[in-house]
């Protein structure tokens, strides 16, 4: 029961980290553009 609760919160935090991390990285990288921006 306690283990399940801890696991639930851990899963939520870890998923926030993974999804949030990849999306935010993608957003930042999407802004880097090379020389010609015409």
């Amino acid at each position: 029961m306690i283990a399940t609760g801890l696991g639930f919160v851990a899963t939520a935090f870890a998923t926030f980290n993974v999804i949030g991390g990849f999306l935010v990285t993608d957003r930042m990288l999407g802004m880097f553009k090379p020389k010609d921006r015409s």
């Binding site: 306690i2 283990a3 399940t4 801890l6 696991g7 639930f8 919160v9 851990a10 899963t11 939520a12 935090f13 870890a14 998923t15 926030f16 980290n17 993974v18 999804i19 949030g20 991390g21 990849f22 999306l23 935010v24 990285t25 993608d26 957003r27 930042m28 990288l29 999407g30 802004m31 880097f32 553009k33 090379p34 020389k35 921006r37």
Partner: protein, 465 residues
Amino acid sequence: VSNTLIQLAYVLAASLFILGLRMLSSPKSAPRGNLTAAVGMLIAVVATLVQSEVVDYRWIAAGALVGGVAGAVAALRIAMTAMPQMVALLNGLGGAASALVAGADLVATVVDKNSVPEGIVPTAIVLSVLIGSVTLTGSLIAFAKLQEVMTTAPITYPGQQVVNGLIGVGVIALGVMLVLDPTELMIFWALMGISLLLGILLVIPIGGADMPVVISLLNSYSGLAACATGFVLDNGALVVSGALVGAAGIILTKIMCDAMNRSLANVLFGAFGAAPAGGSGGAVEGPQGNVKGYTPLDAAVIFSNARSVIVVPGYGMAVAQAQHAVRELSDTLEEKGIEVNFAIHPVAGRMPGHMNVLLAEADISYDKLIEMDEINPTFAETDVALVLGANDVVNPSARTEKDSPIYGMPILDVDRARHVFVIKRSMNPGFAGIQNPLFFNDNTMMIFGDAKKVVIALDQAVRNY
């Protein structure tokens, strides 16, 4: 599914992480690198779910849904200027997840299965909960300092090092006790509590200007916590990915410390920017002299007659959201045949790469962003250096004043340019609380005002010149 297949999936995931990291080192391949690592993560997650025995699937689905939606919303809505706080939060949650998984595994083994963790597992649990908890509260304090919901100044009190030292001893004692008797759950909770406290106490004496280093270090910690959790769960992909994050974070931390010519110990325990140490009466003795205040119209004359301009962005540009206005100005100058480059100090802003991200957001080509060592020799042949909300990273006393707290820190040599314009809200000293003699130089012209408004006015004035 056979165990061999799961182990193979972990090897594949780990390979994709390494490949992804490699691709992240060039702006061209970086988006694909990020995607590659994400695919690796998906494979690792699926393999873990197949192997999982800790929690039943409904709870995993519910947790992943809640965390995934919240993470996606936060990542897509966060302002680019608030990115340092976001990174701090992500590190903290990563550390928390590791500590909680270690706890869940211990409780499941001791209570649910009435068994005893064996071999390396108790040690790994101790490391995971210790490092993970410190990462969580340390990151939350870093978040609060960056968001400025708490003071950005170092918080110090007499006997601070002694208190931290005693807590450190307590952590070690509880850790050893838990390894000796892993079935005593109260020791686990006590260890978690004291580690959470330690995270707070370790970060409050560190000033806001040093938060980039702290974030990088906590990032490394979150990786080490994940690595320890990988040993708890016997999950190879987690061990490898945690070790990669831990190593990458510590390398970046080292690079940033070198860029400030300070040791990591000095950053962590030096209470940088605290009340001026010693001195007679304790008053700060700033450089004296005349500060010349100019208008954007005055500046337009000098800009229009320049052949080369170097823009030096700092945290002030981020606060004023001036990056788009800077792009406009840069375009206007280039249309007049003036060469424009951007000088990036390794610790400018509040996060590694902070300036690069903001300028990229404004569509400024990344090959115009030039690192310190490469651009410094060119200042002497540059007509105009435009300092935009940067302060400590252009402070010449780092070269000359042996008493200065930033003495020895490599700086951008803007004072060697023919003309220096400094856009600043007021004469207040920078984040480190140190006066800047650059402002009093004969070739320095101050333009007071909001960075964005001044740059827009400057752009107009140059256009109409």
